[in-house]
């Protein structure tokens, strides 16, 4: 699954997100996987994703510079593959 700027996402309902100095730890109660979110900006975007109709909107609202969008889409795609977030 590859996400685009037009994808609408949300935190997976089976996932708990715990703040850590480096970002956050995500634990998936369904598949029992533990995932490191290694940047606070990624954590902010993941937490806020459900409030917006597209990832583009989430990135704009969270003040992420356009030059960083490709790396965010790639990081979020990998989080979707791990079922930390899902398309809604």
């Amino acid at each position: 699954m590859t996400l685009t700027l037009d994808s609408a996402c949300e935190l997976h309902p089976d996932v708990a997100l715990r703040p850590e100095p480096f970002g956050a730890l995500a634990y998936h109660y369904g598949n029992r996987r533990l995932i490191f979110l290694k940047h606070p900006d990624v954590v902010a975007v993941v937490r806020d994703a459900a409030n917006h109709r597209s990832l583009r909107e989430v990135l704009v609202e969270n003040g992420i510079a356009e030059s960083r969008w490709p790396s965010f889409i790639s990081a979020l795609t990998s989080l979707a593959q791990s079922e930390v977030i899902r398309v809604h």
């Binding site: 715990r18 100095p21 533990l34 900006d41 990624v42």
Partner: protein
């Protein structure tokens, strides 16, 4: 994207543990010769129900993701299901080890109805003779009955936990042919080598490099 490496930040540690391993009781209905905690009798200082629930509340506040419950035989505690339900209420996942003696058909159905629960049943031999020499007479039948009850309750996947010794290391294929292990979405084996356990005089069963 990050200014300092994750490895460098990890030196500061996490804000809280990822999981907690908890020997809920030292009371046990079995007397396995290799028991790591020399379990058998209840420790009089064992936590009360309210104290155990307070620990779970604290783990919830720390956002600890799950607990590994062992013992002793944790299902010996009369408040076992009450504590499981409290953990579930606190969004704390539970993995627990048991010899299966208390997994009756009714308890299997209660376990199957819960979320975030992983069970491993201890079995140290793929046949009655090998297992019961280590875990005590009747313990093989107890474990297999528990596995049947979990299957009949549609619990889903669970594990059997095997402490590998010189006595059972040649039986690994036989374990996978146990009735509930041949069924899809039922059980799978998980092997732990017996390396340095405090034993009740069974050091002769410890694996040696030439045992396998």
């Amino acid at each position: 994207m990050s200014t300092s490496s994750l490895a460098a930040q990890m030196k500061q540690g996490l804000d809280a543990p990822i999981c907690l391993t908890w020997e809920l009781t030292y009371a046990c209905n079995l007397q396995c010769v290799h028991c790591l905690s020399s379990s058998g009798t209840r420790d009089p200082r064992e936590l009360t129900t309210e104290q155990a629930k307070a620990v779970l509340d604290e783990l919830r506040d720390l956002q600890v993701f799950y607990i590994n419950i062992g013992g002793g035989e944790p299902m010996v505690r009369r408040d076992f299901f009450e504590l499981l339900e409290h953990a579930e209420h606190c969004n704390i996942g539970v993995k627990f080890s048991t010899n299966g003696a208390f997994i009756t058909p009714e308890n299997a159905r209660r376990l199957a109805a819960m979320n975030y629960l992983d069970i491993q049943i201890s079995l140290d031999g793929a046949n009655r003779a090998t297992n019961d020499r280590v875990r005590g007479e009747g313990s093989y039948d107890i474990a297999l009955r528990a596995m049947d009850n979990l299957r009949d309750a549609s619990f889903g996947r669970f594990k059997i936990s095997v402490v590998m010794t010189r006595e059972n290391v040649s039986q690994l294929d036989e374990f996978t042919r146990l009735p509930t292990l041949t069924e899809p979405n039922c059980a799978s084996p998980d092997y732990d080598p017996l390396v340095a356990a405090q034993t009740r005089g069974m050091s002769s069963t410890r694996l040696r490099p030439n045992s396998v």
